[in-house]
Symmetry: C2
């Protein structure tokens, strides 16, 4: 439930109708977990939001401003989440983006609760929609998310927790709202996102944890068929779920795996696997 929102630091429930986020999806966002009245991993989330915004040549508000927003959001709710968006400053109608010196609009939405099912097995299906490859946008958590909407519309069975997306070459990219990891011959692997997909903040945290645990993660373009045949454990990540083990990928079953457990414990992510 949306409980509060503001724009550029001012309490607001509504947005100018000529915002470029609405007109073109011309902006970026991050979703941040709030636990115990604190935004989790604020610094890292702000890093990623800033990197994404810079790739689109948006004028980024100061780091202090972004952190203050997450701090404000955290104090509003015991447990929930916060969505932080930056949309490009609009100067006129039309696609031309205007000067990068114009600071993007900062929108903050705070939700009570986040509907995260902890400790439950996660069931995964393969989506038939194939993601396109646009290197100029790959990895960025931008506001053009119709492919994810179409993919998520492929199923309504509440027993299915997530849909797995492949790209036009049949390579595994990620879930509709999560990144994926698997273990193959004891090597932790995650899709290379240089052609498509969203590089979530939790993905980066898991990769960093793997390095610190002495089992560096490989980024690779791997066909779904290969992955299905060779993965010994499979898990999903996003900032709300943390790390979530997959128990079923359609007809394939995975037992809870030691690698996922070790990383989740290291990152103190609770009981999601």
């Amino acid at each position: 439930m949306l409980i509060a929102s503001r724009i550029d630091g001012n309490a607001k429930l509504r947005l100018s109708l000529d915002d470029r986020g609405l007109a073109y999806g011309d902006g970026v966002f991050r979703t941040v977990l709030i636990t115990d009245r604190q935004a989790v991993d604020s610094e890292g989330q702000v890093d990623h939001l800033t990197d994404d915004a810079q790739r689109l040549n948006l004028g980024v508000p100061s780091r202090a401003r972004l952190l203050a927003e997450l701090d404000w959001a955290g104090r509003l709710v015991e447990n929930g989440c916060c969505k932080l968006l930056l949309t490009r400053a609009a100067t006129h109608r039309g696609y031309a983006p205007g000067p990068a010196s114009a600071i993007a609009r900062l929108i903050c939405l705070v939700y009570a609760g986040h509907g995260v099912p902890r400790g439950e097995p996660c069931r995964l299906r393969s989506c038939s929609l194939q993601l396109t490859q646009q290197a100029a946008l790959a990895g960025i958590k931008h506001l053009n998310r119709l492919e994810q909407v179409l993919a998520r519309a492929e199923w309504s069975d509440p027993a299915i927790d997530e849909g797995l997306l492949m790209d036009v070459d049949g390579m595994v990219v990620g879930g509709t709202m999560s990144n994926v990891f698997w273990v193959e011959n004891e090597r932790l692997t995650t899709p290379d996102l240089s052609l498509c997909g969203v590089a979530g903040r939790m993905r980066a945290r898991v990769m960093q944890a793997a390095v610190e645990l002495g089992m560096p993660c490989i980024q690779a373009r791997v066909a779904a068929a290969h992955c299905r045949a060779n993965a010994s454990e499979f898990f999903l990540t996003n900032s709300l779920w943390g790390l979530r083990a997959v128990s079923h990928w359609e007809d394939i079953r995975f037992a809870p795996g030691p690698v996922a457990l070790r990383i989740a414990e290291y990152l103190r992510l609770g009981s999601t696997c």
Copy 2:
């Protein structure tokens, strides 16, 4: 200049921050010319908006409702334009689209003036960004327009009027904000948009006019190099410009062509070529 706006028929300048148009670009739009206090080609524009919305499984307001909105917009300004958007009804956070029975939000923005340069030669450049091919979204004028924003950001020279986009196979698709036509061996040709691109309403009008004039237009996937070598005339269309002849495509020059002139006269599109 934005002079008026409304949402679902009520005067409003601002939008709910949890609108799915903002969150995901989950919606469609059309831009409609207003001349002499009347929205031009209302019926056709409403047809296209409705078709697009149905392809995304949006709940579409009644035809009478959509036409009334354009009628309202037209009466507000002597000459200008109107942007009509439909964004998917939001039921909860997350990509799952909810029931198609929920009627989409209808947003109407009315602008005075449209900055359309009539009768001037149009200079075209080739963009380096290549459009991805997503058949599920191809042709739809949806709100995921970051590729167009990136392409438009490639130039700032005001002498360049439009950028031409090719797809990942190097095939001609269209301008950043227009459709393209050319004449090759006396055959009128326009890109096939079944893999990417936006099927503008003016494109459909020009194709229909061509049929009525006994010179049916071919839709084809044609490489830019072939087009550059073989086109004898080249023109752009959108609902604000009408039909606009290209005089320069980088180093290639085109003389005003008889086909463009004949179609523009037939459609009474003024002196844009």
